[in-house]
């Protein structure tokens, strides 16, 4: 076991249940609330994000539970139409902007990018803390919109509904998303500069772990797409408050313009959610197979390809909104093209597993779940990109199922995979592996049971966003609600055994999975300054088999 980075300091004895690494780690560097709230340590900021997004996830999941409960029967029993609208708006706004977009980048990107590239911190530590505060300010705006009665526009804020007809606290919700956007932009700037300027000696671009590559691509989207959303929401606010008519036809405006501007951000935003997940899966797959990743450069460049082409496909959300046929044809074509780099990644992950000695641990089960569900989501995405099919299933549960396969089946599953894989590094303790596998199974089965019936419902014509439906759809809706409860169990379980592991888990050691990567060469949990001396990197990211227990041989 490598003892690098440890100096002789007071160790066991002073605090019984604490290991020496823990006593010297970032977690013990100040215990006051103040030392957490004013920290500029990227690892502590990551923990702040982890706590806050988990809370937001709980709020939005509660809204989803209400919706699934309502849809158990064809009639409106639990919620009124108005209440249902508010529930799905709340669910969408919080899940998209306060959970999915910050989930992997702000928790794991924050924690791991400096460790993976051999740096002491992100390039702008104070900016990093500021971005958490901005994020929380946005969160408070959302919660106040909720407390004052909610919003009923849907997370897409389509005009003229959002600008003229909607009741409720639309301006508060718009302001919340606007503010959270600035947090995204600052994080994106921080990642780009860090990856350019803080790589350790010898850490060339070709030696970057793929997690870092995908975060680079994500940061580009964050920086270039988010400001467009910001200005669009500003225009909607101006229209609602001052009556400026950019999107109002009665005043000479154009509602389709809103959809263009909104999806110019919000389609790339899907890649903000899924690219980091792909980075996580690239790490998990190589770690489980103990093999070099098949086709490193293909996977690296496919991230940049997704980021680039992802900017050119937004029009596929408007096939039935009166967009010109020629524009639609081109957007349809580009939407098919953007699937190619994603498919490349899936093939490369599978090829990496070929002849590997695979460890079927919890983290890997989540990664496998991601691949399967992401393929389902991706293939149905191709169907939706085709003009003829899209007209048939537009605004039905088919679309709902499709994007949940990508966002929940993909991004959330990968997020949980990352939690299980890097938990020992973050807190220095191992969780119960058996419970980890059980929760992975619950989530995979529960997820499919929830959302596969929705593909069928949508194909049969059940529209989204209604709280009542014809009785013939009830069987599938009951199945879906039953699946949601399994999914809920799958999400609650990790909370319990992970919390339990914090005090009672076995100590993890520097490199519990025996994998490569600079983050596994430092103690678990890492000391405040990550590396006692700047590491020098001499080989590529996935050099297996390890010739030494520590990951740099």
């Amino acid at each position: 076991m490598s003892e690098a980075g440890l100096t002789n300091a007071p160790s066991e004895g002073t605090a019984p249940r604490q290991t020496r690494a823990e006593a010297q780690s970032y977690l013990s560097d100040g215990n006051s609330l103040r030392s957490w709230l004013l920290t500029t340590d990227h690892k502590r900021i990551a923990i702040l994000y982890l706590i806050s997004i988990t809370a937001f996830f709980a709020v939005a999941a509660t809204a989803a539970a209400l919706m699934r409960l309502e849809l158990l029967t064809p009639n409106g029993d639990v919620l009124t139409a108005e209440g249902y609208n508010r529930a799905f708006t709340l669910h969408g706004v919080i899940m998209v902007w306060f959970f999915l977009i910050p989930s992997i980048p702000n928790v794991f990107g924050n924690f791991l990018i400096p460790l993976m590239i051999g740096a002491r911190d992100l390039a702008f530590p104070r900016l990093n803390l500021a971005s958490w505060y901005i994020f929380m300010a946005g969160g408070l705006f959302t919660l106040s919109a909720l407390i004052f009665g909610g919003v009923d526009t849907g997370w897409t804020f389509y005009t003229p509904l959002s600008s003229h007809y909607a009741n409720g606290n639309v301006v508060l919700a718009l302001a919340a998303v606007f503010i959270a956007g600035w947090s995204s932009i600052l994080t994106g700037i921080n990642f780009i500069v860090t990856i350019h300027k803080l790589r350790a000696p010898g850490m060339t671009w070709g030696r970057l772990p793929l997690f870092v590559w995908t975060h680079y691509a994500t940061a580009l989207i964050l920086v270039l797409a988010t400001p467009v959303l910001a200005v669009t929401l500003l225009l909607v606010m101006a229209e609602r408050v001052f009556g400026l008519g950019i999107f109002d036809p009665a005043l000479g405006g154009d509602p389709l313009l809103f959809e263009h501007l909104f999806w110019f951000y919000s389609h790339p935003a899907v890649y903000i959610m899924v690219l980091p997940a792909m980075g996580v899966v690239s790490e998990l797959v190589t770690a489980a197979a103990h093999k070099k990743l098949f086709g490193y450069w293909f996977v690296a460049y496919s991230s940049l390809a997704i980021a680039t082409i992802g900017f050119l496909v937004w029009g596929h959300h408007m096939f039935v909104s009166g967009e010109s046929m020629y524009a639609s044809t081109i957007f349809s074509f580009l939407s098919l093209i953007v699937a190619v780099p994603s498919a490349i990644k899936v093939y490369n992950w599978t090829a990496t597993l070929y002849k590997g000695s695979i460890a079927l641990n919890a983290a890997f089960l989540f990664a496998m779940g991601f691949i399967g569900l992401f393929v389902m989501g991706g293939l149905t995405g191709l169907m939706l990109a085709l003009l003829a099919i899209d007209v048939h299933v537009h605004d039905t549960y088919f679309v709902v199922a499709h994007f949940h396969y990508i966002m929940v089946g993909g991004a959330v599953t990968a997020f949980l995979g990352a939690v299980h894989f890097w938990w020992p590094k973050m807190f220095g303790r191992m969780y119960n592996e058996v419970w980890g596998r059980i929760s992975a199974a619950f989530i995979f089965i529960g997820f499919n049971l929830t959302f596969f019936p929705q593909f069928l419902l949508g194909y049969m014509g059940m529209p989204r966003r209604y709280h009542v439906y014809p009785p013939e759809f009830q069987t599938l809706n009951v199945l879906s609600s039953a699946g949601a409860s399994l999914l809920g169990i799958g999400y609650v379980l990790p909370l319990i055994y992970l919390f339990y592991s914090l005090r009672n888990g076995e100590t993890a050691g520097d490199n519990p999975w025996h994998v490569t990567g600079l983050e596994w060469t430092v103690p678990s949990p890492p000391p405040t300054h990550n590396f006692e001396e700047a590491p020098v990197v001499v080989n590529g990211p996935y050099e297996y088999p390890l010739s030494h227990d520590s990951s740099i041989a």
Binding site: A119, R120, P125, P227, A238, G243, L244, G252
Partner: protein
């Protein structure tokens, strides 16, 4: 007591490089912010060409042109000021930055007087003594005009504060770094260049 900053950089030169790159990436983000508005203006110009041209004619061309000259001059001062800071002629740099900040304020005064004239003429949508729009397209043009120039004016205000702060710090023994001064300069150039796009789109499309 303040909690010590977690320091990522081993040497100062690298930190300055990072500061510059950070500023450039931020400016790319800012460019996209205005890019969305320029796209909206282009859409309007395509769909409502006559209303666009007719309403553009009601803007005060002289004021717009004067403001263009003011901003371009201030950008020149900033560029020379950044050069002076490089040569360690900090007093000169201070004077130039202060001059640029004053020109920024002059820009805001001219812009404000334009807004006042438009308010009185009934060109401010939704407010004012009367409303005087020939068509929905005309009103739409003025909506976009106020959003675009208003957002730009917010950036001018931020830029003036940055320039003034920079000038203030340049007077003493602890001047801002060469890269730091350069970054403030870059921000001001962005403010300038956004106007260089807005001016012809709004004022000259007649």
């Amino acid at each position: 007591m303040t909690i010590a900053r977690h320091e990522p950089f081993a040497d100062i030169a690298r930190e300055r490089e990072a500061d510059r790159l950070g500023m450039i990436v931020f400016l790319a983000s800012e460019a996209m912010l205005f890019g969305a508005i320029v796209m909206a203006l282009l859409a309007l110009r395509t769909f409502e060409p006559t209303a666009f041209a007719a309403t553009s004619e009601r803007l005060i061309l002289l004021a717009g042109a004067a403001n263009t000259a003011i901003l371009l001059t201030s950008s020149l001062l900033v560029a020379v000021g950044v050069g002076a800071r490089k040569l360690d002629r900090n007093r000169l740099a201070m004077a130039l930055f202060a001059g640029a900040a004053l020109l920024g304020i002059a820009f805001l005064i001219v812009k404000g007087s334009e807004y006042r004239a438009e308010y009185l003429e009934g060109l401010m949508p939704g407010v004012g003594p009367r409303q005087d729009f020939a068509s929905p397209g005309a009103r739409m043009f003025m909506d976009a005009y106020f959003i675009a120039t208003g957002l730009h004016a917010v950036h001018v205000i931020v830029g003036v504060v940055l320039l003034a702060g920079c000038a203030w710090r340049l007077r003493g023994d602890a001047p801002p770094s060469v890269v730091g001064t350069g970054n403030v300069g870059l921000y001001w150039h962005l403010v300038d260049i956004v106007w260089v796009f807005l001016f012809p789109i709004l004022y000259l499309s007649r």
